[in-house]
């Protein structure tokens, strides 16, 4: 592995990220949480997360925290994804495949409108 070359590249990329972050004001703290219990993983949670990450990448969205949680007891609704924007209440989505995840990222995370069809009643 060309470790040193990569590291130089990383330094440059990191500077870029810092600059862009300074320029863009983040609209409140955004957190995207994907459930990654055995049930979630078996139902496709990795593809859900992959879709979230590639959306962040291709739309250059800064300041989004992507994290995971274990099984939250609704295995039949997996893959489950939660979105928390600022101090608004958490929105829990069910049956979030890669396409739905992209829709949620676009409509909810980017534009602040929850995707009602997939919201789980809690």
């Amino acid at each position: 592995m060309p470790a040193i070359k990569s590291l130089e590249e990383l330094k440059r990329v990191r500077e870029e990220a810092l600059q862009k972050k300074k320029m863009k004001a983040t609209p409140g703290n955004v957190q995207v949480i994907v459930a990654m219990g055995t049930c979630g993983i078996a139902a496709g949670a990795r593809d859900t997360m992959k879709s979230v990450l590639s959306f962040i990448e291709s739309n250059s969205l800064s300041g989004i925290t992507v994290t995971q949680t274990g099984c939250i007891g609704m295995c039949e609704q997996e893959p489950i994804m939660q979105v928390v924007i600022g101090d608004q209440p958490k929105v829990v989505y069910g049956k979030v495949n890669a396409e739905v995840a992209e829709q949620i990222m676009k409509q909810h995370v980017q534009n602040g409108i929850p995707v009602k069809d997939y919201v789980l009643p809690l």
Binding site: M1, K50, L61, T67
Partner: protein, 189 residues
């Protein structure tokens, strides 16, 4: 589970649940010995002998004990279906090591799957854990290739910058994807 890479993700989540600080995932495809071996090692809280035996038993797993089970018997079954097996070595307070092997050419062997996505998802979702990924291949003529990724340097360099910043994400994803592609066996789909 449809891929060994998904099982690895699941087993690694156990390590995280066991409060491990260091987790390593090794994958070795060896065409000379016709073996595919995966090893997940962690320094989490581990388990005593009794528990270590129980987690291998699919009937032990119930909803209330969910956090230790289900995933391991599933991987064991997948390994045994392709003339392989699974072993678990652990001691209370001293972490755990799970090793599964498969006959590489076995018709029922589960595909390795998207290792890069598994590694990236683990890196992103558990930034506090020190991850070491090692993907190794040995072809029929004994030529060895490997991609080792230790996130120490990356984290040191990133500092307070999150791995989910788009530029960083692109960089890390590229690094892992290319590394794995470069070491992959020609015959592996």
């Amino acid at each position: 589970m449809r891929e060994i890479a998904l099982h690895l993700m699941d087993i690694a989540e156990n390590s995280v649940a066991a409060e491990a600080r260091n987790v390593s995932i090794e994958v070795h495809e060896n065409l000379q010995s016709d073996l595919l071996k995966v090893i997940v090692t962690d320094d989490g809280r581990g388990m005593d002998e009794e528990t270590a035996k129980q987690v291998l038993d699919p009937f032990y797993t119930t909803r209330t004990t969910r956090k230790v089970g289900l995933g391991i018997p599933l991987l064991k079954l997948a390994a045994e279906m392709s003339e392989g097996g699974l072993s678990l070595v652990s001691e209370a307070g001293k972490g755990a090591k799970i090793e599964a092997h498969f006959r590489h050419s076995h018709i029922d062997r589960m595909p390795l799957g998207d290792l890069a996505s598994t590694f990236l998802a683990l890196l992103v979702s558990h930034p506090k854990i020190h991850w070491v990924f090692d993907y190794r291949t040995t072809d029929k003529n004994g030529n060895v290739d490997n991609f080792e990724f230790d996130d120490t340097e990356l984290k040191k360099e990133l500092g307070e910058v999150s791995i989910t910043e788009p530029e960083i994400l692109k960089f890390v994803r590229g690094l892992i994807e290319e590394g794995i592609r470069a070491s992959a066996l020609q015959t592996t789909v």
